[in-house]
């Protein structure tokens, strides 16, 4: 492991990589701060730039953008109560009241220290867990991988909101369907190309991500303007950030919260499909319960614990979601799904072999997480008053620019104008389905895992003489598929039990 860390340090600490960590954190903070644009859009916008870089540098850049975007999201949550991303919604519960009390600087500092601690502690967990899991997963067969991908996709549904399970599953299937467009990898047969040569290579992953996130988010903002005037008024109100100093007592209050939320966030992040949003809400709820009645009352009114818990947990979860990506090649979240696509674009296959074949990429990603967190704390925090000025840029200038960067990002990769038209079409479809409250992230997960899933299933059948018996003959495959089934059916069974219990209680009261 020491050798690995040294490799990682050697790669991540080269001047060019440090420069890209700095740039990534800064750009990520900028983009994450814009209401409506989250880490997924931020990373998607970076892919064309990352594609022209060395794999390790490109991944380091995207990882830095990821943390930067989460940090930026927290800033807009605290300053103007407009979370850039779902994972920082819980941050606004106590961060915004603190800002209104004239303690915006302190709230930002607490958020930054908590994010830093959560990220660093989780990176230590990742350092231990990833090589161990990678070593274990070296014994996995194609059948197990197929089962793992089924688990990854069904887990998305398990963590979807109430009533959204079916929609999440359906969107996953749509993503899988889109992944089958193009020439079949094994038999060279064109599928769903509609006779168009431009579709022979399939739908570009970057195109789909840009269209469904950056483009459609900008179009949604055009459809329903949030009002620049209000945003500017809020900015003026919070232009005086106040002191950024955190007292010893406050540090003492934050420390146990950070410890608990880091562990919770990391575990939630490792679970496929869960991610930073669930981690932040869970940490907030847990701390409110632990705080007791007196301190619990302060939650929602500017509680330090209430701000520190979700900030720590969302960063720890962001780090945790790299575990399944780096060790199994299965993304734990929409954001890591985009990173997986980028890795595949470099010709790197994430999974247990990554640890052996590409140690520089593997370790430099882990080490860059520490560097990224340090950059956010040392550089971005003091710069926040200046970076926050971006919130005052009118959306009439910002939105066309976001559209332009999305379109040109895709065009610069293929130099094919057909891609721009296809992107507009997907953008339109994404707007329609967002408007109808259908989730987009499961579709991206399905799209990215589709090709690998088909290949592993085909290989498993080939090894097993065209027999599907591998599903129940290999205990590991069966166990993973059973977990997937329980992920899928547990929420349904649980809601049935709850309903039956309520019915029994009512009958008891009536009797």
């Amino acid at each position: 492991m020491i050798d690995g860390i040294l490799i990682g340090l050697g790669t991540a600490l080269t001047p060019i990589n440090i420069l890209f960590v700095l740039t990534g954190c800064l750009v990520g903070t900028f983009i994450g701060m814009l209401p409506g644009l989250g880490p997924m859009s931020a990373i998607a916008l970076m892919i064309p730039v990352a594609a022209s870089l060395e794999p390790a540098t490109g991944i380091i850049l995207m990882a830095a953008v990821y943390y930067g975007a989460i940090f930026g999201g927290s800033t807009s949550s605290i300053l103007i109560n407009a979370p850039g991303v779902a994972s920082t919604v819980a941050t606004s519960f106590d961060g915004y009241p603190m800002a209104k009390q004239g303690k915006a600087g302190k709230a930002l500092a607490i958020a930054a220290y908590s994010s830093f601690s959560g990220g660093v502690i989780a990176a230590v967990f990742l350092l231990v867990a990833a090589p161990f899991l990678a070593a274990v997963s070296l014994s996995f067969h194609s059948a197990d991988y197929f089962a793992l991908m089924v688990l990854g996709l069904t887990a998305v549904a398990a963590f979807a909101g109430k009533g959204d399970v079916l929609k999440a599953l359906l969107m996953t299937v749509i993503g899988l369907m889109l992944s089958t467009v193009g020439t079949d990898q094994t038999q060279g047969v064109p599928r769903f190309t509609l006779g168009l040569i431009d579709l022979t290579d399939g739908i570009s992953f970057l195109l789909l991500v840009m269209a469904t996130f950056a483009l459609s988010e900008a179009l949604m903002a055009i459809l329903k303007p949030s009002g620049d005037d209000k945003r500017q008024q809020e900015m003026e109100a919070s232009s005086n950030l106040g002191s950024m100093r955190v007292s010893k007592e406050e540090v003492r209050e934050m420390t146990p919260v950070i410890g608990r939320s880091s562990i919770l966030g990391f575990i939630i992040g490792v679970l496929p499909g869960a991610g930073a949003t669930i981690a932040s809400f869970l940490a907030y709820g847990t701390e409110q319960r632990i705080a007791g009645p007196e301190k619990g009352k302060l939650f929602g009114k500017g509680s330090i614990r209430g701000l520190s818990a979700p900030e720590t947990a969302n960063n720890a979860a962001a780090t945790g979601s790299f575990v399944p990506l780096l060790t199994l090649g299965i993304p734990g979240s929409g954001t890591t799904a985009i990173m997986l696509g980028a890795l595949i674009g470099y010709g790197i296959q994430p999974g247990p072999r990554l640890y052996v074949d590409q140690p520089a990429v593997f370790w430099s990603v882990i080490v860059s997480m520490w560097i990224g967190n340090i950059v956010l704390l040392v550089l971005n925090l003091p710069l926040i008053p200046y970076i926050a000025k971006i919130l005052a840029i009118p959306s009439r200038f910002l939105l066309p620019l976001i559209l332009f960067f999305s379109l040109i990002g895709v065009y610069f990769v293929s130099f094919n104008t057909f891609d721009i038209q296809l992107m507009v079409l997907f953008g339109l479809a994404a707007v329609v389905f967002r408007f109808l409250d259908f989730p987009m992230a499961p579709m991206i997960l399905g799209f990215i895992l589709g090709g690998m899933m088909e290949e592993n299933l085909r290989r498993a059948l080939l090894i097993n003489n065209d027999s599907w018996s591998f599903i129940w003959q290999r205990p590991l495959t069966l166990a993973i598929l059973l977990i997937a089934a329980s992920c899928l059916f547990a929420p349904i069974v649980w809601s049935r039990i709850q309903r039956l219990r309520k019915g029994a209680d009512r009958a008891g009261e009536g009797g």
């Binding site: 079916l166 359906l170 038999q187 047969v189 066309p400 721009i420 299933l457």
Partner: protein, 152 residues
């Protein structure tokens, strides 16, 4: 509610899945694969069944009965942006990067309410030129800057 958001989405995706299923039957198979357990059609056929099944479940058991509200949205502006993006795709080659992108940005800013001609020009043109210089000189990505009639 008959026309809830979930149901409308379910119907749209059901239509997509049926079309996908019909098109999956056009995938040509080699004669030797006729009896193979896994062919180029296997995955699409499984997905078609899953897709149609799930769409029907969404239609029959919608999670929410909320109806879509169309009022209060800038539909015209959003539609115009769609047209603008498509036009940008069609003109980027014949008009060159500098002109087509400047026109795209100026039209975009104007459509969202910017009326000052000075601001429109000062924000868009320098940005487009700077971006082109950065891409061609900084990242070695060449893109034709000028329209067809000015090319040498």
């Amino acid at each position: 509610m008959l026309f809830s958001k979930d149901r409308i989405g379910g119907v749209l995706l059901l239509a997509f899945c049926i079309t996908y299923g019909v098109l999956s039957q056009n995938i040509t198979l080699l004669p030797i694969q006729a009896k193979a357990a896994f062919t180029a059609r296997t995955m699409p056929e499984v997905l078609m069944v899953l897709g149609i099944g799930l769409s029907l479940l969404v239609i029959l058991f919608p999670g929410s009965h909320e109806r879509p509200r169309l009022a209060g949205f800038n539909w015209t502006t959003a539609a115009l942006f769609m047209v603008l993006m498509s036009a940008y795709g069609l003109t980027i080659r014949p008009l060159g990067f500098l002109l087509s992108t400047s026109v795209f940005l100026i039209a975009g800013f104007a459509m969202l309410g910017e009326r000052s001609v000075t601001k429109l020009l000062l924000v868009s043109v320098p940005l487009v030129v700077a971006f082109w210089v950065l891409m061609t000189q900084g990242l070695d990505v060449f893109i034709e800057p000028l329209p067809w009639f000015l090319k040498g």
